[in-house]
């Protein structure tokens, strides 16, 4: 039943990489969903854009720096990464600050994209 069914799964990442465990545990769901051969896309909005910031150092807070995992997503055929333009601008960030290649979209363009999904998970 499940086998062979492919749905469009979108993961909406809204939280900073550290401070809460949402980003780390959400990445685990993304990898599992990709392993189920689903059509996976990731969106980064609000403080979620910080998840993709280059040069993260976590030694001082004694937590795992999982940011290299975003670069490994390509190996799982997860290649649709979308970042909201307004969220980047509000935080003084540009595409050059991010550790992976992304598509930068406006809030309304993202809204259209969300409307095309079968499953939207927001963390």
């Amino acid at each position: 039943m499940t086998e062979g069914t492919s749905k469009k799964f979108m993961f909406v990442n809204r939280t900073a990489p550290h401070g809460t465990v949402y980003a780390l545990e959400s990445l685990e769901v993304v990898l599992i969903t990709a392993a189920f051969d689903q059509d996976v896309s990731l969106v980064f909005i609000d403080d979620g854009v910080w998840q993709l910031k280059k040069g993260q150092q976590t030694k001082g807070i004694e937590t795992k720096n999982f940011s290299p995992t975003y670069r490994a997503l390509e190996g799982y055929d997860v290649e649709k990464l979308y970042v909201e333009r307004e969220s980047l601008a509000a935080r003084g960030l540009t595409e050059d600050d991010l550790l992976v290649d992304v598509n930068v979209l406006s809030s309304s363009e993202l809204g259209t994209l969300m409307g095309e999904q079968d499953v939207v998970l927001s963390f």
Binding site: M1, T2, T5, K7, F9, V21, Y22, E25, E28, V29, I32, T33, A35, F36, Q38, D118, V119, V120, L121, S122, F123
Partner: protein, 119 residues
């Protein structure tokens, strides 16, 4: 309609679990099917039978257990998230089972709608 439910927050601290429960009750009452409730992040804390709320408060864990018993709703707790937070088979409340994230993906695939309750 066939619903899948995701609960991302723990009991009492956050309304997510209450809202998810009330949503399930309402959906079942309307004749819909609740295929599975998946507990992730701090949501796994909804599954411990060690919970003892004061007498005059709702028992969130027992309420989920009763929903499983009355309607056969599959209550699944993510193993990795559970072990991080000290939830194991030995302190699991009735009606819950521990399994992998694949169960969440499966619910997303098999349900008409996956409804997320969280912060």
């Amino acid at each position: 309609m066939k619903f899948g439910i995701l609960v991302n927050e723990g009991p009492y601290q956050h309304q997510a679990s209450d809202s998810a429960y009330l949503f399930c009750k309402a959906a079942l009452a309307k004749g819909h099917e609740v295929h599975r409730v998946f507990f992730y992040h701090d949501g796994v804390n909804n599954s411990t039978r060690l919970t003892e709320p004061p007498q005059d408060d709702r028992n969130i864990v027992a309420r989920w257990s009763k929903l499983a018993a009355d309607h056969g709703v599959d209550l699944v707790v993510c193993v990795a998230a559970a072990l991080r937070r000290g939830i194991k088979d030995e302190n699991l409340a009735p009606g819950f089972r521990i399994s992998g994230l694949g169960q969440l993906v499966e619910t997303g695939i098999q349900s008409d709608r996956l409804v997320v309750f969280g912060d």
